[in-house]
Amino acid sequence: MFRIPLRAVAIALGAAAASLVLAQSAQAQSEPMRIGFLTVRSGALAAGGRQLEEGIQLFLKERNNMIAGRKVELIIADTGGNPAGAKNKTQELVERNKVHVIIGPLAAFEAIAIDDYIRQTKTPTVADSAAAEDLTQRKVNPWFVRSVGSSAQPNQALGEYAAKVLGYKRIAIIADDFAYGHECAAGFQRVFEDNGGKVVQKLWPPLNVADYGSYIGQLKQNVDAVYAGFAGANGLRFLKQYKEYGMKAPVLGSMTTADEGILKQMGDEAIGVTTGGWYAAGIDSPDNKRFVAAVNKEYGVDPGYYTLGAYSAGVLVEAAAKAVNGKVEDKEAFMKALRNPGTVRDARGEWKIDEYGNPTMTMFIRKVERKDGKLVNSVVKAYPNTSQFWTYDPKAFLASPVYSRDVPPARNIEP
């Protein structure tokens, strides 16, 4: 007579099933973690794109290409620096390469172009450069988080610094006539005027203006300083011409006006330019010194806006991947960890992510100096724990329209 050992069968079946499940998950874990990296390799944004790539490559090299115990496969895609390209490449990364997370894109208009798509496909996305205010304010996307700040964030701090520390009363603003320039200038203006200063002039040269001469000729002479909100090559061109025209008023500016990426091309005209930023190659801390040395060793340049942005996106991805024990396939949990990484630490210091997906971090007031023959952004003051809303109440901040050319309105303009 056969006695079927039911219990044994059950155990065997259970064990088999368990080992199958284990094997599957082990296989999933041994598969590399795929990071899609959006960059720009041609056109006007190519310099920024290259620095982004350098940032992430350095990060992965330092980690031996391992994040949270998993090998990393980095898939770099060139968007061409336009919205359509960004959309296509994002689709490709998600559908063909099946990436677990996207880092990028470079420009705000690219980020806006992929906004709906990453929402629909629930693709965790870490912006390493795009700073448009509303991406983490009035148009929060649950699948989007930033490793960099919002456009106005450092300029709000600079506004207070200009009014309270420098004691400036009257300032003329000149900034690129596109959303980033508007937002930088607006954040500066709001806090500067709330602290008793007056913005007496606002000039908006078109982004691709051939020559700043005619604008510099218009700048008021009777101001305490000029605020310059430029991006890309424009800061370089503006500062050069500003000096050529013999202008004497001190220059304040947005982070990108004196970014390390273009500072190396500048001359004495940059000395003394004071800008706000969430990073400066001149930050005097062991973490930053190590970072600056590593970037210099690898690429022969100082890190700036883009290099740090991409490197820190790596840091953020690593923190989140560790929090989910490398199981980045669980998108919900992984994204939750990206939005709530706790305290993140990198070259700029410690920072957190606010509930809208934007870092709350130290804002540095940086002043360009020549040290050992090289132009550097030295830190003259730090505003720790600064949120994208400055000291304003987030609800009230979000209830008013997004910063633009005319928001906040300029009430002190002189004819």
């Binding site: 390799r41 041609s42 056109g43 006007a44 944004l45 190519a46 310099a47 920024g48 794109g49 290259r50 000039l203 908006w204 040269p205 078109p206 691709n208 203006v209 051939a210 020559d211 001469g213 005619s214 604008y215 000729g217 218009q218 890309g232 090559a233 370089l236 061109r237 050069k240 011409q241 050529e244 025209y245 013999g246 202008m247 990426g261 273009i262 190396k264 091309q265 500048m266 001359g267 004819p415």
Partner: protein
């Protein structure tokens, strides 16, 4: 709007002149090529950028500014000649294909520059003796810009002499006016094409170096300069040197004063004169042929 101090008008007039000078350096070659060959050379902006980059490298190697201008001009002229001979010549009689080819070449040059000179924006230093400012009515104006205007005027005079007073110039003018007839009377039109393409390229290469200290050089400079060349040439009249000259300074003034007095409409003001002129006088102010 008009209650500005005298210094304002002076400085902005000088700004207009310097922009005009720069535009003439940019568009003289464009106009010549367009006029003779009926090709809107869409790689013209790229030539300008390439000239600036070559000038930058020559300057960095320690040579004086004049050498940089000459080297950039010759290098771009050589490139232009080769492209005319080996690309555009094969597409003769098919203007659309030629224009598209020049567009493709523009992209190739832009990518090549990116590869060779990286994407970092870079400054061309102006010659030392031209650094500093003139002081007028309490306002300052950079010496270098005055020099650019002077150079543009000298260049214009030289080109005018070449076109009006030499045999080659007469042949070029004949080609512009009526190519078939010119060919018929034995003018070597084929050779003329190459020569004019080289000359036009030379001028824009030199222009790139001269523009460098004002504009600096960076990826995207090409696409920013091309529309300006188009505006000037369409306004002034295709194939007319005087047209390019007057058009350049006209645009210099219209653009500078437009954007200072009515800043919100800067671009409209830039393109409006072109559209009005096209509507009323399609051949441009001084054009021999319609665009």
């Amino acid at each position: 709007m008009f209650d500005k101090p005298l210094a304002f008008w002076l400085i902005q007039s000088l700004n207009s002149l310097s922009l005009g000078g720069l535009l003439f350096l940019l568009s003289a070659g464009f106009s010549l090529i367009f006029g003779l060959m009926r090709i809107a050379n869409l790689s013209h902006g790229a030539y300008f950028m390439l000239g600036a980059y070559i000038g930058l490298s020559v300057l960095r190697a320690g040579y004086p500014f004049g050498v940089a201008m000459l080297a950039a001009g010759l290098a771009v002229a050589l490139l232009g000649g080769l492209i005319e001979r080996f690309v555009l010549r094969r597409l003769a009689g098919n203007p659309l294909a030629q224009v598209l080819a020049t567009l493709g070449i523009a992209f190739i040059i832009a990518d090549g520059c990116l590869l060779l000179w990286t994407g970092d924006p870079q400054q061309l230093p102006s010659p030392e003796w031209l650094q500093g400012v003139f002081r007028i009515e309490g306002a300052a104006f950079p010496k270098y810009r005055v020099a650019v205007v002077a150079f543009a005027i000298v260049l214009a005079a030289g080109l005018w002499l070449l076109l009006e007073k030499t045999r080659t110039g007469a042949m070029i003018r004949a080609g512009v006016d009526d190519m078939e007839m010119a060919r018929g009377v034995g003018i070597p039109v084929s050779l003329l094409f190459t020569a004019v393409f080289c000359l036009g390229s030379f001028l824009v290469g030199v222009g790139g170096v001269l523009g460098g200290p004002i504009l600096s050089v960076y990826p995207g400079l090409d696409t920013e300069m091309l529309p300006l060349a188009l505006v000037v040439v369409i306004l002034g009249g295709v194939g007319s040197l005087i047209g390019a000259f007057v058009g350049s300074f006209l645009i210099g003034f219209v653009y500078t004063f437009g954007q200072t007095l009515i800043p919100d409409l800067a671009y409209m003001i830039l393109f409006l004169p072109m559209i009005i002129v096209l509507a009323i006088r399609p051949r441009g102010l001084f054009g021999r042929i319609s665009a």
